[in-house]
Symmetry: C2
Subunit: 340 residues, 2 copies
C-alpha cells in the first residue's frame, strides 16, 4: 500500500520570528489561506491511500488543529530526518509489510500540483517495481546555494526515471551557477519514494542503532522517549542517500520551492508592482525587492531594498534577503529565552 509521510517536525527557526516553537513554520499560512501542512497532506492524499504526519510531540496539538483526521507519528524529541523517516518506516512496515512511502517535507510549495502528482506517481512505481529509492529532482530555476543538488550522468527529460550519480551538498555560488548551466544537476527537494523495508535495510547498514531503535519503538511505543533521545541527529541524505545504490530521480519542473527561509517568500506569494512581497499592512516608498510580513503592526519603510522585515508577536527581524539564513545567529543568541 502507498503511504504519504509528511515531515512536519522541524523547529522552523529559519522563519523566526513568525515561526516559533509553539507555531512552527510548517503550520504558518505562508503559502496562502491554507496552512502548508494541510496542503501537503492533501497532496499526499492524492498519491497515497494513507497519510501520516511526523511531528514533534510538543507540536502535535497544533498540528492536529490544522490537519484534523490525519494520523500523527509523534517524535519525542527532534533527531533530524534519518530518525524521523526511520520511525515512520518502522511503524508503517509493522502494519503493512509492503508499505511504499512518499516522503514529503511540509515546508515546501508547489505551483503545478498536477505535475508533482504525476512525478510522484512515477517515483512510487519505480520504488515498487525496482525497489529503488526514487527521488523527485527539481529542474533548477536559479543558482540557489541553499539547496543540495542531484548529479545526473547527463541532461534528462521530465517525467522520466534516471539514475542519480551523486548527491552533492549545498554549493557556493560559482559552483551553483556551473551546476545550473550544465543541465546535469537537479535540486534535491528532500522528496522521495521508497519501500519502507528498503529504508529500514539501508538504516540497518548505515545507521544500525537507529534501525534497532525505531523497530523497537514500533513494537513498544512506551519506550519511545528513552530510545529516541539517544539517536544520532543526522539527515537521511547524509545517513543513507549519499551512500545507497539504486537511487533514481524523476526530473520535475513543477514550480517547487522550499519555504524554509524568508528569501523564498516571493516565490510563494509573488510581489507587487514595485517588486516588494508584502503580507500584512505595509507601506514601502522608494524601495524594491523587500519582503515584509507583519501580524498587525503597520510596517513602513523608505529607501530600503532587498530587506526582510518581519514583525510577529513580541519580536521584529530586519535582515538582508541575501542573508536570510543568518537568522540562525539570532536564534543562537535567544537560546533559552521565551522569544523562541
Amino acid at each position: 500500500m502507498r503511504h504519504a509521510v509528511i515531515l512536519a517536525g522541524g523547529g522552523g527557526t529559519r522563519l523566526w520570528p513568525a515561526s516559533r516553537r509553539a507555531h512552527p513554520k510548517q503550520l504558518l499560512a505562508l503559502a496562502g489561506s491554507d496552512a502548508l501542512v494541510t496542503t501537503v497532506a492533501k497532496l499526499g492524499g492524492e498519491i497515497a491511500t494513507n497519510v501520516v504526519i511526523v511531528t514533534a510531540a510538543d507540536q502535535a496539538a497544533a498540528t492536529r488543529k490544522v490537519a484534523p483526521g490525519v494520523t500523527l507519528i509523534e517524535e519525542p524529541s527532534g533527531r533530524n530526518t534519518a530518525a524521523a523517516i526511520g520511525l515512520a518506516a518502522a511503524i508503517l512496515v509493522a502494519r503493512d509489510p509492503d508499505a511504499v512511502l512518499a516522503v514529503l517535507p511540509a515546508d515546501q510549495h508547489v505551483t503545478d500540483r498536477a505535475g508533482m502528482i504525476r512525478a510522484l506517481g512515477l517515483a512510487m512505481t519505480a520504488a515498487e517495481a525496482t525497489n529503488a529509492i526514487a527521488t523527485i529532482g527539481i529542474a533548477p530555476t536559479r543558482a540557489e546555494t541553499g539547496f543540495g543538488y542531484l548529479e545526473l550522468a547527463g541532461p534528462a527529460a521530465v517525467d522520466t526515471v534516471v539514475p542519480v550519480v551523486r548527491f552533492v551538498e549545498k554549493p557556493d555560488l560559482a559552483t551553483a551557477e556551473r551546476y545550473v548551466g550544465s543541465g546535469r544537476y537537479l535540486w534535491n527537494a528532500g522528496i522521495f519514494c521508497a519501500r519502507a523495508q528498503r529504508l529500514l535495510d539501508e538504516l540497518r547498514t548505515h545507521l544500525p542503532a537507529t534501525a534497532d531503535a525505531v523497530i523497537a519503538i514500533a513494537a513498544d511505543p512506551s519506550s519511545a522517549e528513552r530510545r529516541y533521545a539517544e539517536l544520532q541527529s543526522i539527515s537521511i541524505d547524509h545517513a543513507v542517500m549519499e551512500k545507497a545504490a539504486n537511487v533514481v530521480t524523476v526530473p520535475a519542473s513543477v514550480g517547487w520551492d522550499d519555504i524554509g527561509s524568508w528569501a523564498a517568500l516571493p516565490a510563494v506569494r509573488g510581489h507587487d508592482a514595485a517588486g516588494n512581497t508584502i503580507v500584512g499592512d505595509a507601506i514601502i516608498l522608494d524601495g524594491t525587492g523587500n519582503i515584509v510580513m507583519t501580524d498587525g503592526t503597520l510596517v513602513t519603510a523608505v529607501g530600503v531594498s532587498d530587506l526582510v522585515i518581519v514583525k510577529s508577536g513580541d519580536a521584529i527581524l530586519v535582515i538582508p534577503k541575501s542573508r536570510a539564513q543568518d537568522v540562525r545567529s539570532i536564534i543562537e543568541v535567544l537560546r533559552g529565552t521565551t522569544y523562541l
Copy 2:
C-alpha cells in the same frame, strides 16, 4: 524682566512613529529619563525669572503633565514660529513692558549646560543693552545639511557678541562643507534673545497682520481661535531674522544638537561598542551605525548598518539614517489615518 519662552508646539512628525499628534516629540524622553521639555524648562529657569511654554492647545494636557507648574501659552492651531513667538511676545509685553525673551525650541539637546547658560546670559545682556536680536550661534561639528547657518564677517571666539552678516538656509553638502571649513558659519539653532517689544516691532514691519492679531489676542484671549487660524504660517527666520538689522550672535560650543530627526539620536544617547544606538530591547549582529528605538517589542537585526529601526505603538519605521528626514513622505501617505 527676563522670560524664557519654550517652543513646544511642533507636530513632531520627523520622529514618527514614536512621535504622534497626542505625544509629540518634545514630550518624548529621547534625551534620557527626563522629558526634554522639562529639561529645557529647567534651563529656562536658570536664565530667566519667568518660564512659559508655548504649545498647541490639543497638546496642552500632555505638556502640563511633563512640566507641571509652568505657565502655558496655548496656540489654537499650528501657525509656525513667527506666530507662536509673536503671541508669546504680545502676552508677555502686556504684563511686563520691559520683557526680554530667551526663545528656546524644546526639541534640542545640550551637553554643556553651563556653557549654554553663559552664552544665553551674554545674549540676554546684548538684547537688553543694545535692543539687539541676539542669537546663539553653534560652532558646527559636522557638515550638516539639515540646519540653517549664520554667516559672520570672520571667525569669532565663543562667549563674544558679533554681528550676523546673513541668515542662510539649509545648504547642500558641498556648501555645508565649505561653510564648516571657513570658520565663518555657525549653526542656526533657533535660539535667540530679544526684547518682546523689539519682536513685536519687527512683526509690525514685516508681518503686520500677525502683529495686529497677536496683540488683539493678548487683550482678548476669547478671540484667539478665530484670529489665529487666519495667520500666515511662516517661520520667524523667514519673517523677521533674514530681514532685520542689528542681529548679533554669541558663538557657542556647548554640545548642542537638534533632535528633530532620528539621525540625531546618537548625539543625544551615545552608542554602544559596536556603534549602534539602542533605546529599548534589541539585538544587532554584524552591523554598525544603526539607530533602534522600541517600546517593548524585541528588535533583532543581522547584517544591516546605518539604518533607523523604530517600533512604537501600532507602527514600525525602517529607513536609512541618511534619509531620516524622508519620514515625511510616509507621513504624507498616512495623512488622515489614525497612525499619525
